[in-house]
Amino acid sequence: MSDAMSVHPEVVTTHDVHHDEHHVHHHKETFITKYVFSQDHKTIGKQFLITGIIWAIIGGLFSVLFRLQLGYPDQHFQILETVFGKWAEGGQIKPEFYYALVTMHGTVLVFFVLTAGLSGTFANILIPLQLGARDMASPFLNMLSYWFFFLASVIMLSSLFISTGPAASGWTVYPPLSALGQASEGSKLGMDMWLVSMAMFIVSSLLGGLNYISTILNMRTKGMSMTRMPLTIWAMFFTAVLGVLSFPVLLSGAILLLFDRNLGTSFYLSDIVVNGQILPNEGGSAILFQHLFWFLGHPEVYIILLPAMGMVSEILSVNSRKPIFGYMAMLGSLFAICILAFLVWAHHMFVTGLNPLLGSIFVLLTLLIAVPSAIKVFNWLTTLWRGNIRFTPATLFAIGFVSLFISGGLTGIFLGNSTIDIHLHDTMFVVAHFHIVMGVASFFGMLAGVYHWFPKMFGRYLNSTLGYIHFWVTIIGAYLIFWPMHYQGLAGMPRRYLDKSSWVSFTQFGELDKMITVVSIIVFAVQLMFVFNFFYSIFKGRKVTTQNPWGANTLEWTTPIRPGHGNWEGEIPEVHRWPYDYGKDGREFIPQTEPIGENESKH
């Protein structure tokens, strides 16, 4: 009996060992080990964040530039030629290059910004800090995770500068277009680089994900049972599981695509004629790629969304000075979403000739996601309800997230019905749907996180006035940009077309498109203002003077204002309660480290 109960010596969390290391490190740490090849989770998190910001500027700039052309199809813009050279000769974007631009915009924002930049940043910074761990389970693999991401970034960035240009078959890189170099410039070297870059990216996400999972399971401090973890951590946990189980399928799909491109196989190709030339490939299936892609692709959208959900839960509870409403329901919904995310991928393929019976099963499963989503929305709203809300920029962005999630979730229900989707598929309606629910909403979650945890990251505050301007312009702008796209889509306007002037029926949208373009320029400018605020505040922002500036319960606020490698100076604190004791027994907040009092009421 006692044998079975015995704990492996190396299994007990090795806090103290780490702690000693920290002291040793302190003396011989150089610039390189401290800021470049750092193994400190906080530094790695910041590296992910700053790389993500740089990518966001690049990806966002692309969208502004092609929006210019979409809004003013017959005008010539000198700036386009200045930036893109021969791809925008005479100041007008060439149609093939427009496709390359939307591909890069999508790839960069979905994977490099909202996956690596979001999970990479906050999983790294928050998991050890909120769990009470000195660092990740394996700081070394964690560092490798960043550097694989960096490598992926370098390859993707270089593909922008080769003479045939970057990949140009959409962020979903469907074959046959993506498989055949003779079909378009963007399917030449740029596509190979896209695939190799994504392979590196998958390695990075795997290394990160494995670390997050084993840290959360193994490295919790004493008393931090699973149900005492903040919802941020639960969200990161499910995100990591989704990533670990879905990215490998994309890897398989990408490898087969690389073979089709370079080794003459026919996994995805059959009966194809390009420019009058009959290709020998036969027996493959382009639809197969779509299955492999969306088996990752759908979980991927939740990989992007869940961390935002977790942070929003935390921020709303802290700033409305109320416990999160329905902790267990939140947890259950996260779990349900995680399971369902694996079972709905074919809703992206309703018009591929999917068997209608199968289609109806996917409709059912897809619409089921609305249930946990609605539970979460209800809980956020009830958390805010009659709260003593402090409207910090973080709170505003969190509320903005809830608003956007509702709007975008509702349009998801349209799309989830296969009969309606036949009309809406590949129109601007889909673009509107996923930008609101995934793109902008997750961005809001991420920004909320940055405003909220900036004091922990850099020991200074972001400027709030700029924060308020940032929030109001962005939320109004986002709705002005994406709401009208629903109408365009309902009217049948296709997505991914540069010039729609050959359809007379779409001329009615001409002025609308101009408005969208103008607003996106403004919104982009305001994001640059945020970037300025970010970098300025790192060096010159108002200093944090108290350990726990937001009066929050979670463990990260028990560390020194600028924690060193190892996070806590002395012992790691023990946890005695869940993280959401706000406004309880007449006290504003009770940190997790405080033992349960004798006459304390239950929550």
């Binding site: 009996m1 006692s2 109960m5 704990v7 492996h8 190396e10 299994v11 007990v12 969390t13 009470g132 389970a137 394996s138 693999l141 795997l206 994900g209 494995l210 670390n211 999972i213 084993s214 840290t215 399971l217 193994n218 490295m219 919790r220 401090t221 004493k222 008393g223 931090m224 049972s225 699973m226 005492r228 670990v244 189980l245 879905s246 990215f247 490998p248 399928v249 890897l251 398989s252 799909g253 490898i255 087969l256 073979f259 080794l263 003459g264 196989t265 026919s266 996994f267 020998p280 490939n281 036969e282 027996g283 493959g284 299936s285 197969l288 492999l292 088996f295 946890v575």
Partner: protein, 247 residues
């Protein structure tokens, strides 16, 4: 005693220790293997979906009927040997891990070395099999002409037999499904790559064991993790064997 034990048991998840009584590296390895299982799963399901969408698929008993020195007539003989080698190497790995539990360095080194030999033998067999398939010549009727084809990524000589036609005493076939080669080389190659990396890992373990690294650490956990990986690679082979050679 018993009450104490139950108190203990309820606290596995309450923080401060690993709920599974596992060191983090092993936990990572398990999750990695799950992830990798999805990679292989995706390959094999793709293979299945394409294979069963074809009207005709080559008979493995005809395709894989040779071995070094045996030209045909020995269906699945060679691949059975390969499979046997790999399974034996799993057994030797178990023994290495077992010796590791006992802290017996010499035992670990001995069994690890045999595992490496097994892995290398398997890879050599695979190299021979690939070479045989690619360079073998088979008479195929293409546009009314007989051509000599090997099995590669874009050609498949194992189509249905053309009745009543012979070429130098051998029967003549029509071209078979191209997908066969792509999936066969793709999936067995990906598996072979895993075996190869497993061999490299085992070699590193061997060197570390020899240098006494694990004795200094006081435990042979690394060998256990390498063992998990190795068993996984074997298990995957069972599925590959099933899908390509038996069905």
């Amino acid at each position: 005693m018993s009450t104490q034990a139950t108190v203990h048991q309820t606290k596995w998840w309450s923080g401060g220790k690993s709920p599974f009584n596992l060191e983090y590296g092993k936990l990572m390895m398990w999750y990695f293997l799950m992830s990798d299982a999805f990679t292989f799963g995706a390959f094999l399901i793709s293979y299945g979906s394409i294979r069963f969408s074809q009207n005709y698929w080559p008979n493995p008993n005809v395709v894989f009927d040779s071995a070094p020195g045996i030209h045909g007539g020995a269906p699945l003989f060679f691949v059975s040997i390969m499979t046997f080698i790999l399974i034996v190497s799993s057994v030797t790995m178990v023994l290495a891990v077992h010796e590791g539990h006992k802290g017996n360095r010499q035992g670990v080194i001995k069994w690890l070395a045999w595992t490496i030999v097994g892995g290398l033998a398997f890879l050599s067999c695979q190299a021979w099999e690939w070479h045989h398939l690619i360079t073998g010549e088979h008479a195929v009727l293409v546009n009314g002409q007989v051509e000599l084809w090997g099995q590669n990524m874009s050609h498949n000589p194992w189509g249905p037999v053309v009745e009543g036609v012979t070429y130098h005493g051998h029967h003549v076939t029509t071209p078979g499904p191209v997908a066969f080669g792509g999936y066969f080389f793709g999936i067995t190659g990906f598996h072979g790559f895993h075996v190869f990396s497993g061999v490299i890992i085992n070699i590193i373990m061997l060197v570390m064991a020899q240098k006494g690294v694990f004795d200094r650490r006081g435990h042979y956990l690394m060998i256990e993790k390498a063992g998990l990986y190795w068993h996984f690679v074997d298990l995957v082979w069972v599925f590959v064997f099933l899908c390509f050679y038996l069905i």
